[in-house]
């Protein structure tokens, strides 16, 4: 019998496309996302690209993409399959609105099933901007975390990861399996080609009800108000560098 394939699990979230400027709804009870273009969270796309490159280098056998959302998220998983993932798993939570800890609990249950070598995901989703899920999964799984990765090198059951930290670049060495969250400069995701989109339709996409994984979501936080930040006062225009300096002196921003 063959050994368990060396598998990478990539978690992706469907979000409002980063080019869309969202607004608070007129009744201030939420964010207007109806009809907005939806995409794979850009950081998760980078995570998928990295997984594909690891497989292409021969350091993994299979790339599985997963999402925790609703059946509406299937198009984004199909895009991930078109990029090159081998199969997809959609955990139907019947809501788009799970808290990061519950997403992490679902991913921890998937990790039990899939036994991946690495779980790769974005450092944050550009809607909630929480930056929590990967770290929480690593805690629940009791495995290493390498967050904000800018380079990943694998060898002998370990990963050496360069991390983008405020002070510069920190390098850590983690034992696999591990969770890696991606920063922007890790790679440039590939474009999807038309033949790959057609091929992706044949790939496996399983839908798993959240209850089957034994996770019951809990609402810990309640969002009671949505507002837009006050706009900055519109400033003045100057017509030369000399006027610019004078304007700054006048405002007290320069002496």
């Amino acid at each position: 019998m063959s050994e368990t394939p060396r598998r990478i699990l990539v978690a992706i979230k469907r979000v409002v496309d980063y080019n869309v400027r969202v607004r608070v709804t007129a009744d201030r009870t939420g964010v207007a996302t109806d009809g907005a273009k939806m995409s794979i969270n850009p950081f998760d796309e980078i995570a998928l690209e990295e997984a594909l490159r690891i497989k292409e280098r021969g350091d993994a056998d299979e790339v599985v993409v997963c999402s925790v959302g609703t059946p509406e998220w299937q198009p984004q998983l199909r895009t991930a399959l078109a990029m090159g993932a081998d199969r997809a798993l959609l955990v139907d939570a019947q809501t788009e609105d799970l808290e990061p800890l519950d997403v992490a609990r679902v991913l921890a249950a998937l990790v039990e099933r899939e036994a991946p070598l690495i779980v790769l995901l974005g450092k944050q989703a550009i809607d909630g901007d929480d930056n929590q899920t990967g770290q929480m999964l690593a805690a629940l799984w009791q495995r290493p975390q390498a967050t904000f990765a800018s380079t990943v090198r694998l060898s002998a059951g370990r990963a050496v990861v360069a991390r983008e930290v405020d002070a510069g670049i920190e390098t850590i060495d983690v034992e696999l399996p591990a969770v890696i969250t991606t920063d922007l400069r890790l790679n440039q995701p590939r474009y999807v080609k038309l033949p790959d989109i057609l091929k992706a339709k044949q790939k496996r996409l399983d839908v798993v009800p959240i209850a089957e994984l034994g996770v019951e979501p809990v609402r810990r936080f309640r969002t009671v108000a949505y507002e837009e930040p006050p706009p900055r006062r519109r400033g003045i225009r100057v017509s030369s560098p000399a006027e610019l300096v004078a304007a700054l002196v006048e405002r007290g921003a320069l002496r």
């Binding site: 969202v22 800890l101 929590q132 929480m136 805690a139 983008e164 034992e175 949505y226 507002e227 405002r251």
Partner: protein, 318 residues
Amino acid sequence: MRALVVAEHDGRRIAESTAKCVACALEIAPGAVDIVVFSGPEQDALAAEAATLAGVSRVLRVIRDANGAPLAAVLAPQLAAVAERYTHVLGPSTTFGKDLMPRAAALLGVGQISDIMAVEAPHRFKRPIYAGNVIVTVEAEPEHVLVGTVRTASYRPVQEAATPAPIEDLSLDHVPVPEHTRFLSLETERSHRPDLQTAERVVAGGRAFGSAEGFELVTRLADALGAAVGASRAAVDAGFAPNDPQVGQTGKVIAPKLYIALGISGAIQHVTGIKDAGTIVAINKDPEAPIFDVADVGLVADVFDAVPALIDELKRRQ
């Protein structure tokens, strides 16, 4: 209410982010804010520095060989062990806090409120979502310990205390820590320029500079002003600027007194990183560039003409 702040440090000094977290924690639990300092045995002076922050009741010093490097996998179980005595546990929304706090929260079986920008009540907070385009008010249940990160750009650091807070040594040797994660190195860009995160003045450049050589104009103006250097994501992606000065939702969120954006269009994700600056200056040759919507002073000009002229003008005034 009793709040615990996790100190951030580089092994030598306590980071300013800690003093900002204390400011936030004091709004939640006035007179009941402790700091915990995790460090290696050679770094025992850090606790004394933390004790000088005004409003702090007590500093808990946790010294352990494994605590010499800031590894979340090592610190999180220890933090979770201390957290049970508090109603709130806060860390900075810097890469240190973002790495550590969610891991500790999950070990405690609780969620986290990220990027606290205002405290409305001990269990009601404001925080930004969608790159700061929406501000939400979030309520938490008081029966669970609240784990949160503090958006440092929203708080001013507390001052120095007249008398330092008492320091208590706390042994957490009974808390097992994993050995699966090793710290190898930290490469910092040491320069004579001020640090981007704490600088009073920042000069940042965007795609308009076209090359790393062109981008040197940004550093020349920064030096003329004694400012830190920043960059837009476009400039970093194009390879003109190194990684760590990126300003924006996905980079650093800063609040200098003066921010000068050179050849930066002003994408939403960039503007998010500078919204709290005192005065924003934009120089861009495109009069329609969105950066002008947030700029206090705007100059429509090519950066290759305007920046050298601006440097000359500043030199003339000295």
